[in-house]
Every structure is written in structure tokens, then in C-alpha cells.
Symmetry: C2
Subunit: 504 residues, 2 copies
């Protein structure tokens, strides 16, 4: 094919143009969460619906699709493994998937989830489940339609999971997460039985917001997050979004009475941001400029938040700095006490503030419930009760209200059903990647205690970020670590860290 390059560029030009519109929708969505005035919501939903429709139309354009099919087939045969071929094959997979979705469904989903998120944000502080419930019902009905349109072999949940974790199935994920949950419940019990007690009380002092912001930005920057290509803002639910090749925005929420809330969510979202900032910018909009999966994304955020950010080595470097920002709160606190406090393990209500040991139990609750919601086995009306019962069973806690219960997460209102298990997969991947990085980079903890994070970031850049979406998550983990995805490194890491703290 003499005009391969020219035809390839035409395919890409179409994709890049579509991406400009999709990224415009991301700007509108970011603004909706950060700065939009209260009464502007309904119109914003109309705009997001329109843009989603235009994007979907372009992604399923039959003329473009026909050219893509032809070129991808030729490249697969004549240029296997080349970057252009990788892009073409991934685009073909997306196109074949996208065109199963009717235009009206895509638009209705965009509009409904935009409104549902607004209703969620307004009704959560008021503990108003009844205001939110009909919107969740609407979203679930549309997600079921979406799953049916996409198709699946075994479980309706597979259809949605594929969007977030390509190649993974519900059965596979259950086979990993259920035994992991069992091991974690045992570890939680051993920690509860330990004679060593950690004291998180010192974290509930007064932490002025402006100082939290300064320290958070400073640390994010030291980890490698570029504020020339990114921002930090405030939202009800922290997130990371990318608005362009050089525009990665993270958010947090500040609690002046609890230090970890903002600090670790900034580290977490900065981890996502480092991944996005590390993707090849010149391939932005194309598969080679895109992230692998949500699980892989989460591996990057959890790695910086927990493996690095809750390590004793990190605090050897950071604690003196924190003390400058919070001279009062930290006056009578030692490094070791502080480190134990930020690693305090205790079953609790809110996922985003859970410790590392109980975190995956929060995920299990959601993973189970959303499967049941999707199949219809569980009605939305019965969800709060089921949620509370599951929290009692897995975590042994009583849920006092919906704001700290079933309405704590934005995900379902945003249509993100099938998303939660990727958090646990991310924890698995993070532990595997850290194990491999420690083997290859050398004394990581020594580096962190000097504030040197570039060697670890560089390893992630090489082994994860630079590949874009060339591999499926399981392939990438195999390639980067030498093993398929598995739970043992996570359990070893948790037993190592918390065994030391709690003298198990």
C-alpha cells in the first residue's frame, strides 16, 4: 500500500478532531464540579448531551469506520507491532464497540448523568436519599440498556467492566477479590487483637486550610507533578481529569479538623496526574497517548499515596516540612507517632478515608452491590438497607446516614457502574510494580528519605507510562513485573508494613 502514511494520517486527523470535542466536554464537566454557579446545572447538562452526541457520531462515523477497518486489516498483516498498527488495532476495537451504542442512548446517558451528579452534590449534604433515588434508578436503567447494547458472554456486568478494565471478566475479578477479602478480614482481626494500639487522635487537630494547600502543592510538585501543565482545585469528591495534552487537573477537599483528608487525596490524585503527564503527549487522543485501564491508573495513584506517602522513609523527609506548616498541631508529636497515626487501621464508614488494610473491603461491598443492582436482583429502593447490612458484615460498622453511607461516592450518579473493582485491581498492580521497581531501581526508601522521587517516577515512566495503551493491563503487568496479576505482593506488602507497626 503506497499511500499508507497518508491514509493513516487521515484516520488520525479524524480521531484528533473528535478528541478536541471530547476534551471540550471534559472542560465543561470539570467546571461543573469546580466553579459552575448552582443554577447553571440544567443548561450544562444539555450542553454535555450535545457534545457527547457529536463525539459519538464521529466515533461511529461509518465512512471513517470503513477506512479504519481496511487500513487496520492491512497493517495487522504487513506491519505487525509497529506504532501505527497498534493505534489502528486499538481504534478498531473501540470503533466496533462504540458503534453498538445507539446515538440516543449515548446522549441520554450524558444528559442524565450530568443532572444526576448535580442532584447528588446537592442532596448528599442534606442526607436526602429520596431526592437522589429516582436519579439513580434512571442511571441504572440506562446502564442496563448500555450493557445489553454492548453485549456480553457470561455476566451483564462484563459488558461494563470491559470499558474500565479491558480483557477482565466478572468471574476473574471475583476469583481474585473474594479470597483477598477473606485474607484482609483476617489481617484486620489480627491488628484489632494486637497489644499495640495506634492513636489517630492527633490527626484531628486544627490544620489551617491555606497551609494544607501549600504543603500539598509542594509535595505534589516534588513527586514530579507539573503545575505548568496542571492545576489543583476543590471539589466535593476528589478526582483527576485531563483536558488536553498539557492540561491535567486534580482536585481535593479540605478538612481543617483532619489532616489526611486533603493531604493523601492530593498525593493520590497527583499519582493519577503523573501517569497522565507521563503519557506521550504527541500521541494525545490516540491509543498510544492514552492510559491502559482504570486499574492501571489506580496503581499509579495508590502507589504514590500509600507505598510512598505512608512510608516511614517519606515522612523522614516530609515531617520537618509539615512541622513548619503546622507548628502548633505538630509541636508535641514525634516522627514515629505521626507515621503510626497516618497508618492507623480501623474499620470505618468512608472509602476515600479508609486505611490500606480495610480499603478493599469497601470495594467488595460496592462490587457486590452493583452486580446485584445491574441484574435487578437488588432494587434501588432497597439499596441503603443492603449497603448498611454489607458494611456491618464486612467492616463491622453501623452506617448512621446516607451521606456517609450509600451516597458517599459520586460514581453511580456519574454512570460509573463496573468501575469500583478497578480500585482493588489497582492495589494489586501497585504492589507488583513496586516489588519490581525495588528490585531494579535499588534503595528506594533511602531515596525518599532524601526527597528523591525521580528514580521511581522514571521507572514508572519507562515501564508503564511510555507504552500508552499498547498493552492490555494483564499483559503490561506481566511485561513490567515478570508475573501475571496476582494478590500475593499486595498481601506481603501489607503484612510487612502493618506487621512492623502492630508487631504481629
Amino acid at each position: 500500500m503506497h499511500d499508507f502514511q497518508q491514509r493513516y494520517q487521515q484516520i488520525c486527523q479524524h480521531v484528533r478532531q473528535t478528541q478536541r470535542l471530547a476534551a471540550a466536554a471534559e472542560v465543561l464537566s470539570w467546571d461543573e464540579h469546580t466553579y459552575m454557579p448552582p443554577e447553571a446545572g440544567p443548561y450544562r447538562a444539555e450542553q454535555l448531551q450535545l457534545l457527547a452526541g457529536l463525539v459519538h457520531q464521529r466515533r461511529t462515523d461509518p465512512d471513517w469506520g470503513a477506512q479504519l477497518e481496511e487500513l487496520a486489516a492491512w497493517a495487522e498483516e504487513h506491519r505487525p507491532g509497529e506504532p501505527e498498527t497498534v493505534n489502528l488495532l486499538r481504534l478498531r476495537r473501540d470503533w466496533r464497540r462504540q458503534k453498538r451504542l445507539p446515538q440516543e442512548l449515548v446522549e441520554e446517558l450524558a444528559h442524565t448523568t450530568s443532572r444526576a451528579q448535580q442532584v447528588w452534590a446537592e442532596s448528599r449534604p442534606r442526607n436526602d436519599w429520596n431526592a437522589f433515588r429516582p436519579w439513580l434508578e434512571k442511571v441504572l436503567k440506562l446502564k442496563r440498556q448500555q450493557a445489553e447494547a454492548l453485549g456480553y458472554q457470561q455476566h451483564i456486568y462484563d459488558a461494563l467492566l470491559e470499558d474500565y478494565e479491558p480483557g477482565a471478566t466478572t468471574a476473574q475479578v471475583r476469583a481474585v477479590l473474594e479470597p483477598l477479602g477473606e485474607s484482609l478480614r483476617q489481617l484486620v482481626q489480627r491488628i484489632a487483637d494486637s497489644p499495640v494500639k495506634t492513636a489517630p487522635g492527633l490527626l484531628h487537630r486544627h490544620w489551617p486550610r491555606s497551609e494544607q494547600e501549600k504543603l500539598g502543592c509542594f509535595v505534589a510538585e516534588q513527586l514530579g507533578f507539573s503545575f505548568r501543565r496542571g492545576r489543583l482545585d476543590v471539589t466535593a469528591h476528589p478526582f483527576c481529569t485531563r483536558l488536553g495534552p498539557h492540561d491535567v487537573r486534580i482536585t481535593t477537599r479540605y478538612d481543617e479538623q483532619f489532616f489526611p483528608s486533603a493531604f493523601f487525596s492530593i498525593l493520590h490524585e497527583a499519582g493519577h496526574g503523573l501517569y497522565e503527564q507521563g503519557l506521550p503527549a504527541q500521541e494525545y487522543g490516540l491509543p498510544l497517548g492514552d492510559s491502559v485501564s482504570l486499574g492501571m491508573h489506580e496503581s499509579q495513584s495508590r502507589l504514590w499515596e500509600n507505598h510512598v506517602g505512608r512510608s516511614l522513609a517519606f515522612w523522614r523527609w516530609c515531617f520537618p516540612k509539615a512541622r513548619q506548616h503546622f507548628p502548633q498541631a505538630l509541636a508535641d508529636v514525634s516522627l514515629e507517632e505521626f507515621h503510626r497515626a497516618v497508618n492507623h487501621v480501623e474499620p470505618s464508614l468512608v472509602r476515600v478515608e479508609a486505611d490500606e488494610v480495610t480499603y478493599n473491603l469497601h470495594i467488595l461491598v460496592r462490587f457486590e452491590l452493583e452486580q446485584e443492582l445491574l441484574t435487578g436482583q437488588l432494587a434501588v429502593a432497597d439499596l441503603p438497607e443492603a449497603w448498611n447490612a454489607r458494611y456491618e458484615h464486612y467492616l463491622g460498622v453501623q452506617v448512621p446516614d446516607v451521606a456517609r453511607g450509600v451516597m458517599q461516592d459520586v460514581h453511580w450518579s456519574a454512570g460509573l457502574v463496573g468501575y469500583f473493582p478497578t480500585y482493588s485491581l489497582g492495589n494489586l498492580y501497585a504492589a507488583q510494580l513496586m516489588e519490581a521497581a525495588a528490585r531494579e531501581v535499588g534503595p528506594l526508601e533511602e531515596q525518599w528519605s532524601r526527597g528523591e522521587f525521580a528514580p521511581l517516577l522514571e521507572w514508572m515512566r519507562q515501564h508503564v507510562h511510555h507504552h500508552g495503551r499498547r498493552y492490555d493491563p494483564a499483559e503490561l503487568i506481566q511485561q513490567a513485573t515478570g508475573s501475571p496479576p496476582r494478590a500475593e505482593p499486595l498481601l506481603e506488602y501489607l503484612h510487612g508494613r502493618f506487621g512492623a507497626i502492630y508487631q504481629l
Copy 2:
């Protein structure tokens, strides 16, 4: 025509959909000015180019245009004066104008002005004229192409002016502004010769930013600006933009060493915001939901900033409040001293901080120069010198650098050529409207001194805002005030206020 309503709704549906895209571009543009990270600029320009192209395509869609022409012709004959007819005739005027512009030119203008504004914002603080100059040249070249494509009868400048002040011509505007300039220069001279000297020094004290923000928001809200349907943010150059039917955003800049900078720009932009928030929301996107002209818009901002905000009556109410926010700066200042200070007249360098008497002289400089730039009579390379000479002539001041000289305004970088004279027209209209409102509403100043601004706002809502774009500016002024646009009320108002202060 039995299906008139149905066909009308189809026409409107197309327009409303286009507006959703145009408003999305406004969100991107607002973000570019407020929060976008520095390196995100080039991609944002690509997005704005794409959206401008899509909007233009829809506005010049030949099928839609043919339906519009048919329906407008019928409505003009059979339903003169009805709201639907007003919308159709205004849409037809816009459509006939828009379709003269080639798609590529529209896209190139959007892209170039987005980049040029970024370059302006970066190079202005560095006083870097050479970095900005080539971008201004690019913009002017495109504006000339635009003017030629739009067509004109007498002066190329007419073609651009029509976008901002429908129905006005360069010759008409010159005929008003040149004699006004002469009268103002005389008034400036009389003030300079007055034995009464005002002292603006007290305004150069320390005004903590957070207190400026609180007072500014409070006053904007008291005037009637709704923060449930709007916001206030920070930008290099203050502006007001509308992102949806219930989303009006204003911006300011804070100078901790100079009180008027933020305070009066907040009042000014809030005045624009009150107009936007007062337009019929259900007609958003259609002519009856749109503002009349930039001049009319400016009348609303200048009215609240100056007629109200610099009056002694206003400060009778506001001064005690300002004192609570700035106990140190205002400790030894009386109401009367403060009022004289904020009305200090002195020829100066920066338009947005100019007093009311010299303000229109700043406009005259720009109005003359942009005509010469557009015809090519003046080369961009010679612009700083010409600017400085004109400032010396009209205002008697020496321009020390480009940041306070030719690069002080965002307008030209944004492609807003032909825009400046509407500021002076706004001052004319404001004085005429205030004269009429005072006749009809009663003792306005008494109301202001009690913090009552609703009666004046209500008069503006009825006589200006509620009409949307039903009338051309000259028609609306005639209707609201009983006279055509004229300069006398402005001169009377200025002689009244400054005659009292300077005992002329």
C-alpha cells in the same frame, strides 16, 4: 401558513443547539482567562478553532437559511411586530451577514486570537512588545479580510463596527465623539485650573485582598447581581461573559495598594452582569434573549460604576461598610474626603483606571488608531510611537512602557477591532437613561443612600433588559428616553458632578 409555529420551533431548535456549542466555546475561553495552566494554551486554541468552525457551519447552514428566509418573509408580512417575527427578522439579518464569512477565515480568526491573547497575557507583564507585535499583525490581517468579506459602503471600519453597534457608522460616531472630545479637553483644563485640589493619595494605602473581595461581592449582590446565577473570578483584564441562561461570570483584578482598581471594576462588570441576568432567560440563544449592542451593554456597566458607584449618596450608604472592612486605611478619612478621592480627575495612562472626565479621551486615541491600522495608513511596527504621541496630544501624559501603553488592553489581541468607540457610546446612553430614570423613578439618590437599588434596576429591566434585541440601540434610546442618542446629558452630568466637586 397552518404550520407556522412548528416551523418556527424548528428554526429556533437549530439556533438553540448552535448556542449550546457557542456557549461551550465561551466556557473554554473563560477557563483560558481564569484557570488554564500555562502550557495548555496551544491545544485550547485548536479547540476554540474547531468549535468556532462548527458554530459558523451551523449559522450558515444553507438548508436552515432557506427555511429561515421563507418563514421570515411570511412573518414580516402576516405577523409584523410579534415576538416570533422579531426573532426571525433578527436571525435573518445575522444569517445574511454570517454567510458572507468563509468557514476557513472564521476558524483561523478563532485560532489566531486565542493564541494572540495568550501571547499578550505572557508578554505584557514583561513589557515585551516584540513578542506581541507579529500576533497583532496576524490579527489585523485577518480582521481586514473579515471586513472585506462582510462588505461596507463608506469606510472599511463600518464593516466591523456593525458587529458591535448595529446601525451605527464610522462617520456618525466621529461626528459625536470628536466634538465630545473637544468639550472634555476643555473641562479637564478647567478642572486643572481650579483652586480646589482633590487628593487621591489616600487610595494608595494597604487594602487587604480578601477584604476587597468580600466588600466587592457584597456590593455586587446588593445591586442585584445573583451569585446563584453567576461568579466573580480573577483575570488580567476584567470582563463579563455569559456561559448559559443562568450563568453570568464577571472578573476583576486586585491591587492591594490601590482601592479603586478592583472595587470599581467589580461594579462595572456587575453592571454588565445585571444586564445579562435581566435578559429573558427563556429566549436565551435567540435575539429576544440577547443584548442590543455593546454600547447599550456599556451603558449598563458605566451607570452602576459611575452614576451610582461614585455618587456621594452611594457612599453615604457604603462608606460605613467599607470602614468595617478597612479599619486601618480609612481610620482618618471622612466620607467627603473619600468621595472626592474616588472622583479625582487627572489625565493618566491606563484606560480602565481613568476617571470619568478623561475616559473618553482614552477611547478617542484607540478609535483613531484602529481606523488607521485597519486601512493600513498606520503600520503595526509604528503603533507604539503613534500611541505615545496621541496620549501626549489628548491627555498630556508620557507613556513610560508598553504595558501601560499600547499593550494595556486585551481587545486587539482578541480580534475586537471596532469595539472601543462603543465604550463612549455607552457613556452617552448611560447619561441619557439616568436622566430619564430620575424623571420617572423619583428620588434615586435618596434611595441609594439607604442601600436601595431595586427601583433603578427595575426601571432598567423594564426599559432596557426585557426587550432583548428587539430594537437597534438608537431606537431603544429613543423609546426609553424620548430622544435620539446625544452627548448633552453626558456633558451636563459631568459638569454637574465635577462642577460641584471642583467648584467650577
